[in-house]
């Protein structure tokens, strides 16, 4: 039986980070993963990540995955793919199945980083082909390059539902609607806003009651729900759709920890049954660690840090790093993690519905929570989103919730934008500093919530610079309609310039001219020639 100092199960963000950290400190590490490709779910994430520079904010998830793989390789980590861990036995023995046989390994320490599985909901017709997890749709379109369907109903408005809906639009699918039984949008407001302005309708306090079709989904029936989440008879509405995507949360995959004999507990804030772990991720069995979603549902950036923390602890207990070195690392990683676990969407705030104001004291947009977009009156409560008084372009920042994110302040070379030391703070715009109209803030904002606006650029026109991640990219001179935050047609519009550069990393900025007075409300462009890249409603 082969022996390794550290065996990591799962080559996702947590597992690879743990393996790299341990290997760099001198441990002999192997990672087993049941998939044909490493990276876990990171390679499906094509959006720009949140957080701060130290968390690789504004880098797209799959690029973070590529970096992680490169680092693991350079550190000498051995990754074995198509290898499923079947069980963990006494004395840290692991059975792994690959290549037509089951092989036994012995480890000095084990890191369980098996991730999560998607929660499902049962409704009439939910076994029909065409009903699938939102993650399945994401795998098909972003990894395999195959559209999951043509017309999609998304069930769930958490970040997974919102992010996947936007990616469906980018893949050329039509998102018919987003429904959620909760009365409030569960994910980031900025993710909801970028869908709403393309015309995707949100049905809050609604659920899917039936997927119809004989051997595949042909339509879906949604209905309003009462305060106990029961469908209300008579409110049914049939929606033409060939695909129903379910995004109603994730559950930690703790089976291997359970099987190993680790103490498990049911913690709703962590998403279900998880092994009880120390602050360094060690389970009740010394030498068995758990990191990432398997230890509690969060997101990839936190998973990477958790992986490093438990690897540092393992290195310390096997003498690869001394106590002082461990304390230093643990402190630095802990600080980095605490920055991500802050703001109104932090794990400790999960399920709270009583947050009514931002940390700065601005009232949260009720329209954003109930309909997926901010109303014109509400947006004016936010100083950074108010139209400027002076002439010329200036950033208008429609960032209205405290989320851990600050790439905008790094992006502006003129220092117009400031988030401050606490990365969950809302950005502020310094009106005295001159905006050069470089568009870097527009492209840098992971939530696509920054616009450049000139209320009056002459000749009775206003100008808006807006982020655009769809194909085909309109040509300068393209005519069409300006849509408002809710996706409704507002007025005629002309694209006068299209900005793109390597530094903008595939977020183009359309410079859109509209009649004066419309620049404070126009937030999206729909071409008139019918070659509509992104199709909401």
């Amino acid at each position: 039986m082969l022996r390794y100092e550290m065996i990591v199960i799962g080559a996702g963000p947590a597992g690879l980070s743990a393996a790299t950290e341990a290997a760099r400190s001198g441990m002999q590490v192997v990672v087993f993963d049941e998939n044909a490709r490493p990276g876990g779910q990171l390679f499906k994430q094509i959006h720009k990540f949140f957080g701060s520079r130290e968390h690789q904010a504004r880098t797209r998830g799959f690029r973070i995955g590529e970096n992680l793989l490169k680092e693991a390789e350079e550190a000498g980590v051995k990754v074995v793919l198509n290898a499923a861990a079947l069980g963990i036995y006494k004395n840290k023995e692991i059975a792994v199945s690959f290549g037509g046989a089951t092989r036994g390994y012995r480890a000095d320490c084990i890191v369980i980083a098996t991730g999560a599985s998607e929660n499902m909901m049962s409704f009439k017709g939910w076994t029909l082909p065409g009903v699938m997890g939102a993650g399945a749709a994401q795998t098909l379109m972003n990894i395999q390059g195959v559209r999951p369907g043509g017309r999609i109903l998304m069930v769930g408005s958490g970040n997974v539902g919102l992010v996947v809906s936007f990616q469906l639009l980018q893949a050329g699918c039509q998102v018919e609607a987003i429904v959620d039984a909760a009365p409030r949008v569960g994910g980031y407001g900025v993710h909801a806003s970028k869908l709403s302005r393309t015309g995707v309708p949100f049905y809050m306090s609604h659920t899917v009651v039936e997927a119809k079709g004989s051997d595949r989904v042909e339509s879906a029936v949604i209905a309003a729900v009462d305060e106990r989440f029961r469908p209300v008879a008579g409110t049914e509405r049939e929606i033409g759709a060939d695909t129903v995507c379910i995004a109603v949360g994730l559950s930690p995959m703790g089976q291997l920890a359970d099987n190993a004999g680790c103490e498990m507990s049911y913690l709703p804030a962590k998403g279900g049954y998880v092994p009880t772990v120390s602050e360094f991720g060690e389970t009740s069995i010394p030498g068995i660690y758990c990191a990432g979603d398997a230890a509690g549902i969060e997101e990839a950036s936190s998973a990477m840090i958790q992986g490093k923390i438990c690897a540092a602890a393992a290195c310390n207990s096997f003498g690869y790093i001394n106590d002082e070195e461990f304390r230093e690392r643990a402190e630095a990683y802990g600080l980095s993690l605490s920055k991500l676990r802050a703001g109104m969407f932090a794990p400790q705030n999960k399920g709270r519905t009583d947050i009514s104001h931002t940390a700065e004291g601005y009232p949260l947009s009720g329209s954003l929570l109930q309909r997926g977009y901010i109303s014109q009156d509400e947006i004016e409560a936010f100083p950074a989103a108010r139209p400027g008084s002076g002439k010329g372009l200036r950033p208008v920042i429609e960032c209205t919730q405290n989320i851990p994110c600050d790439p905008c302040q790094d992006a502006c070379a003129q220092g117009c934008i400031s988030v401050g030391g606490d990365i969950t703070g809302l950005p502020t715009v310094d009106g005295d500093r001159k905006c050069t109209g470089c568009c870097m803030c527009v492209a840098a904002c992971s939530g696509q919530a920054i616009f450049l606006v000139d209320e009056d650029c002459g000749n009775g026109s206003g100008l808006i610079g807006l982020p655009y991640e769809f194909l085909p990219l309109p040509e300068p001179g393209a005519l069409g309609l300006a849509l408002d935050r809710s996706g409704n047609a507002l007025c005629g519009a002309e694209v006068v310039e299209v900005r793109k550069s390597a530094a903008m990393d595939r977020t183009a900025v359309l410079m859109m001219k509209v009649p004066a007075g419309m620049a404070c409300a126009a937030r999206f462009f729909r071409p008139a020639d019918g070659r509509q890249a992104c199709r909401g409603r």
Binding site: L128, V146, D215, L471
Partner: protein, 104 residues
């Protein structure tokens, strides 16, 4: 169903185009992509019919966890098509209960 142009993803890194069979009929796909993706790209949505109720099932989780997309591959039943890379000449059969449908 295949995405030919994508605003963010430059290249889906496909293998060479190869042939395989579905219930004996010739199909095309790309080497190394999942069998499930190759079927989806050809418009095939039903992977199997269940034992008890004979109801159709297809892709559900696409990451090997739900086991709904299993089919008979090269004669072996219950193979997760979302986790199985497509190979030249592969025989893929719709699974009825636990077996392919008997001929004749």
């Amino acid at each position: 169903m295949r995405i030919h142009e994508h605003p963010i993803i430059e290249d889906f890194k496909k293998g060479r185009e190869i042939g395989f069979t579905l219930d004996g009929s010739p199909m095309r796909g790309y080497e190394g992509e999942s069998v499930a993706a190759a079927l989806k790209a050809s418009g095939v949505t039903t992977h199997r019919y269940t034992s008890k109720l004979n109801s159709p099932r297809g892709i559900f989780c696409a990451i090997g966890r739900c086991t709904d997309c299993v089919m008979v591959i090269d004669g072996k039943p219950n193979v997760r098509t979302c986790m199985t890379p497509l190979a030249e000449g592969m025989s893929v059969q719709t699974q009825h209960g636990l077996t392919p449908r008997k001929e004749g």
